[in-house]
């Protein structure tokens, strides 16, 4: 029970393995010695274009070490009169080898997990290729790495409840190649400094009931309450005022007594952290940007650094990070042009709550490599709950998303 876990949040909504969609195919038993001839012929006259993951042929062991071969002839319609839909070539093949075709089911889509695949093969064998995109952690974390993940997440949770006011969302951007914090921030929607978030106490009080009414979010609230640092005199009920949970809430807030406090409806933790990492970038590489006009400087840096295309440069940067080139640049104190990371390429971000659509897209723009969050955002989350940006194929950048489940006692 008290174990931490890192769960990959996949590109597609999970389907229970036994509920994967299927399609009908026309199959037949064939003579093993005819297998090669028939398969070759079928590949010509009836290629399984839309079912590339499905194996054309399956071996069934029958009693006494005997083997039965089954082959898929073609995709079958759902209708009763499937014989009408059989392509002419296939029909000829059936006639000339005197096959007795029957309808059976195969899974419609390629398996995305080992569990799905095992379930698929119960219907008809398929092939399984684990995700090929190369982001560490999708295939699991080594112990050392998962320890850093838990440490950074705990730090993020600590930030989220550090103020006097409600628990807010917090964001920590990390360079995992050197375990260095690049930027960190809390929500600044209610007050410029969340630790002085007096206005939030008054204005966000209604949120816990609101979110508590949803089964998932009451779980969230419990988690946070239980995991808040356990000191006895701390009020049991900490209100949750995380901006991403209800981004529209700001407009409902009453006029404030305090004139000094500042607020901004869009300064969610992720947005502020991105801003602060950009400021750091400009400061660190200041000397590089001084040859002339500001924006010109940016361009000349990039054009002199490498002559690859933008996408290639991105790859180069992450390779550099892995090779520790960036570390060298930092330790020498004189950042070199080639070590300048492109935005947040290669960096991770830790968030207490699953981000809203604005924040999730901001993290796409800023080229974050991996997102770790602790709690779901059932009403406004864009990484699995309401939307699933990591699965939007048209976007020009894709991060890997993980949910970190921590034990209740921290």
């Amino acid at each position: 029970m008290n174990t931490s876990q890192i769960l990959h949040v996949p590109d597609k909504p999970p389907i229970p393995p036994h509920q994967q969609p299927t399609v009908n195919v026309l199959a037949s038993v064939i003579e093993p010695k005819l297998a090669n001839t028939i398969i070759r012929r079928l590949n010509q006259i009836s290629p399984l274009e839309i079912l590339r993951h499905v194996k054309r042929i399956q071996k069934k062991h029958v009693e006494e070490g005997k083997i039965k071969l089954l082959v898929i002839l073609c995709v079958a319609g759902d209708g009763e009169n499937e014989s009408n839909n059989i392509p002419e070539g296939v029909q000829q093949l059936i006639n000339s080898y005197q096959l007795s075709p029957f309808i059976t089911k195969v899974c419609q889509y390629a398996a995305t997990s080992k569990e799905d695949w095992e379930e698929q093969c119960k219907l008809w064998p398929t092939s399984f290729h684990p995700p090929t995109y190369n982001i560490d952690g999708i295939g699991g974390f080594i112990e050392e790495d998962s320890h850093s993940v838990f440490d950074f997440m705990q730090l993020t949770l600590k930030m989220a409840r550090s103020g006097d006011g409600p628990i807010v969302n917090a964001a920590v951007i990390v360079d995992p190649s050197v375990n260095q914090i690049i930027a960190s921030a809390c929500d600044q929607t209610c007050s410029l400094y969340s630790s002085k978030a007096e206005c939030c106490i008054r204005n966000c009080t209604k949120q816990p009931e609101v979110y508590g009414s949803h089964p998932d979010s009451s779980v969230v609230a419990d988690h946070v309450n239980v995991s808040s640092d356990g000191s006895r005199d701390e009020p049991k009920q900490r209100h949750i005022g995380a901006s991403c949970l209800n981004p529209w809430q700001w407009a409902a807030q009453q006029k404030l007594q305090t004139t000094s406090s500042s607020w901004h409806p869009l300064r969610h933790a992720s947005i502020v952290a991105i801003e602060s990492s950009a400021t750091r970038d400009r400061r660190l590489f200041l000397s590089l940007g001084q040859d002339g006009d500001k924006s010109n400087g940016v361009y000349s840096i990039q054009s002199s650094s490498t002559s690859t295309t933008p996408t290639k440069r991105q790859k180069t940067d992450s390779t550099n990070a892995e090779n520790g080139d960036k570390l060298d640049a930092h330790t020498e104190g004189l950042p070199s042009v080639s070590a300048r990371p492109y935005l947040c390429t290669g960096y991770d971000i830790y968030l207490v709550w699953e981000p809203c659509a604005m924040c999730a897209m901001a993290l796409v723009h800023q080229r974050i490599r991996r997102i770790f969050y602790a709690f779901l955002n059932p009403h406004a989350g864009a990484l699995g709950s309401v939307h699933r940006l990591q699965g939007e194929k048209s976007l020009n950048h894709h991060y890997a998303v993980f949910r970190v489940v921590l034990p209740k006692e921290l």
């Binding site: 981004p247 529209w248 009453q254 409806p265 924006s295 933008p310 935005l343 309401v386």
Partner: protein, 208 residues
């Protein structure tokens, strides 16, 4: 009493979009991906913005975010308005932007609660107003949100959205950005532009 919401005549909308195009040209002059916008309140331009992602090294500094910040600064810092008053003012604003707002900006526009958005070309890769997600349409929001959780929950806000205004002008700006690259840069390094994080990678924009 306040004047009734004036229906924009087609001429007016083109005039405002022309101003947004001017902003996009400013961005182009600064070697930024050319997207620009203006915000109107009661028929008056109250804010303008253009892309500043390269200059700031912050890929979220899109035209819309810039313009929203101009208004927040003005209404909050200078005029000392409350959240409620600011929200009230945003709800009377319309935004003219040269390209369909991306998912981030569409979400931001919904959060601040603008009334209406007019855009130029569509944004096939990142668009949040119909192309990839439809954050402008409140009906796209799953029905469980805001239902049965009491009146205290602020519901996701939609806004009216009209595309295709001066789309070819907007597209031709992108085209000059990608074709000419940086006109001031020495020739050998000519087309090496930062990956445009903003709305558009490649010329993946369409005239409506």
């Amino acid at each position: 009493m306040a004047s009734p919401t004036e229906e924009q005549s087609p001429d007016d909308t083109l005039t405002y979009m022309e101003l947004a195009i001017q902003q996009a040209k400013l961005a182009l002059d600064c070697l930024e991906v050319p997207v620009g916008c203006v915000i109107l309140e009661g028929g008056k331009v109250v804010a303008a913005g253009r892309n500043r992602t390269n200059e700031t090294r912050n890929a979220t500094r899109h035209a819309e975010m810039e313009a929203i910040d101009v208004l927040l600064e003005k209404w909050q810092q200078k005029d000392g308005l409350s959240q409620l008053e600011v929200a009230e003012k945003f709800s009377k604003c319309s935004l003219y932007v040269t390209c369909e707002p991306c998912i981030m900006c569409a979400a931001a526009l919904s959060i601040v609660g603008v009334q209406e958005v007019y855009y130029g070309c569509t944004n096939d890769k990142f668009g949040g107003c119909g192309s990839i997600l439809s954050l402008h349409s409140s009906s796209s929001i799953p029905s469980h949100i805001g239902d049965g959780v009491g009146s205290e929950v602020a519901r996701p806000k939609g806004f009216k959205c009209t595309g295709g205004l001066m789309a070819s002008e907007a597209v031709s700006l992108f085209r000059s950005f990608y074709e000419q690259g940086n006109p001031n840069a020495p020739k050998p390094h000519r087309p090496l532009l930062a990956p445009p994080d903003n709305a558009l990678n490649n010329l993946n924009v369409k005239e409506e």
